[in-house]
């Protein structure tokens, strides 16, 4: 069974005229895949990522996660599945400014009933994996852009998710830091984590093993 299955997914935002962000997406993602989706802004790739991450609901079509039809379960269970299956990485990092790196990473698992001790242990392990154990007590304001993104990645992987969903992960970083982050992604993918990266940067897009291009709400193979 495939990990993620998108079957004729359509997402239309009501309006005048309605915005057809996804116009029938068929995509199957297996365990350990490294998927990149390239496309200009407004092509619908952010909507695709949000639907995959269960932050948005498709207007029609079926989306299965590990065989579960996510359109047929309650919002509470979708939230639970989101916490268990997905880690999000954003262009803007979204670190809480008044919390240390470790406390930011500890937020992972807070909505899946983990104990404070479990969350702390996982946070320290995750910071170790992204190479920032020495910055555990630093506030985000005292971290560089690359370090901030590493903390965000640590937060995304701390809960032990199946899939990392990355929205322009290098968009706020310089080239060297961007490359380092991409190397980290390769490394994480090597440990079995599934990656879905959306970007408009061709060099980032080229790192994926399965590369797609999104244009006007339709997905096509890049190769």
């Amino acid at each position: 069974m495939s990990l993620l299955e998108l079957d004729s997914l359509v997402r239309t935002y009501p309006g005048d005229p309605p915005v057809r962000a996804l116009r029938g997406i068929n995509l199957t993602i297996e365990h350990g895949d490294y998927v990149t989706v390239m496309g200009p802004s407004g092509s619908g790739k952010s909507t695709l990522l949000n639907v995959i991450g269960l932050l948005d609901q498709p207007t029609s079509g079926v989306y299965r996660v590990a065989g579960t039809d996510t359109t047929a379960i309650s919002q509470a269970r979708r939230a639970g599945l989101r916490a268990a299956a997905f880690g999000f990485i954003f262009q803007a990092f979204h670190l809480l400014p008044f919390r240390s790196a470790r406390e930011n990473v500890e937020l992972a698992g807070i909505y899946s009933h983990a104990t404070a001790r479990q969350r702390r242990e996982r946070a320290l392990a995750a910071l170790e994996r992204v190479g920032l154990p020495h910055k555990a007590n630093a506030l985000p304001a005292h971290l560089s852009g690359g370090e901030k993104q590493r903390v965000a990645i640590a937060r995304a992987i701390a809960g032990g998710p199946e899939v990392l969903l990355c929205d322009e992960p290098t968009g706020s970083l310089d080239q060297a830091n961007g490359h380092a982050i991409m190397d980290l992604f390769d490394q994480l993918n090597g440990t079995g984590i599934t990656l879905v990266v959306i970007t408009h940067d061709p060099t980032v897009g080229a790192r994926g093993r399965r590369r797609f291009v999104m244009l006007d709400g339709r997905l096509s193979d890049a190769d």
Partner: protein, 443 residues
Amino acid sequence: MPTETETETETQIETEIENPAQTQAQPAPQAQPETPAPPTVAQPCPARMRLAALWFEILAGLLQRPGRAIFTMLGTVLGIGSFVAVTGISATASGQISADFTLLDATTVNVTQYPPPNTATLPFPADTSKRLAQIDGEVAAGRWWSVNNGQTVDAQPALASGEPVKVQAFAADSGALKAAEASLAGGNIYSEFAEAHAARVALVSTAVATQLGITADAVPCPIRIQGQQYMVTGVLKKVPALPQLMLGVVLPAATAQAAFGLPSVNAPASVIIRTRAGAAGVVAQQAPVTIRPDQPKLLTATSTPVPTQERAMVLSRVSGLVAILALVVLIIGAVSIANTTMVSIMERTAEIGLRRALGARTRHIIGQFLGETGVLGAVGGVVGTSLALLVILGVALAQRWTPVVDPRIVFSAPVIAAVVGVLAGLYPSIRASRIEPIEALTA
């Protein structure tokens, strides 16, 4: 998917605490054969949050902006503080008034003829004491007046000659002396028999006894009043409710009437009644008709006026106004909590989006912000109450009063403040929970 579990979990607004029943209930509906999920993607059960984690998030959310939190709770501090202070100060002040106002005053009823008589008369029958004894709440009662038109009389030892002593003379039923809480230095109050037969008996005060050369242990002994011989049966030590009796000699009413005639216009008779605590009002109401059922309107009964009661009433009116003011301040405090929370939620839109991405449900977002406003209210309430207690203590010390505070108010005030905080946070929290995670994260 089992819809009944979903509706159950969807409608509850409380935060899920550990609930073994629910955790155990999960596997059963999941055990559908067509979905053998990989162990890493746990079969979707509702996102859940530990109470400890929620508390941590609430406190962290508040402490990240301590200055703002303090200013936000200022309204609650002032509202709750002024409420507790006002109730405490008025309780302290009225406690003080009650202390000034003695039991003796509170249990005395006087009955007089009103309007005052214009001829010498005794409007009270001889059995007045017995009649009044029928009233529930009466302890003792009797008639008394000043004899000889209020003028002094001559008194001297029966066997000695020499200058007589000028003293006041009174008529009093033994019931009146009991009602006046008279105590004796020696001897006894004249008997009912002596009273009924107008016997020539008398009581003298300690001062007069000294002037006449009578010692307390020498009674009964004879004296002469206006030349007539009387037997002194007792020496009065103290008459708290009728202190004027200490100026002279006291005779039974019938004796006085036989010797000096009816009470004059200048010194009319009255009845003194001692009542049980709290019964003065009722006894005063019933006394005229009990004494003179034929002409109850002739008499008027008054319980001792207590000027301090008026003060208490004025004070309670003032404190009512201040309590309303405190309520208004509390409402302003609630509005300020609501307003600051709205601003804070706008600032923290990205955080809300992130939390949703981490698996937070709408109720978790609501719970967090309601928790923040509730804690703000509760802390504001505790601070306000503490400051109020200091104010009450200060006022009491300055006035040399005993501070009186109702513990129910002290302990309920922070709870009320917390409820106010939660109510104030209701609308902002629901607004926060409605923020779409997608929009929040792209910001």
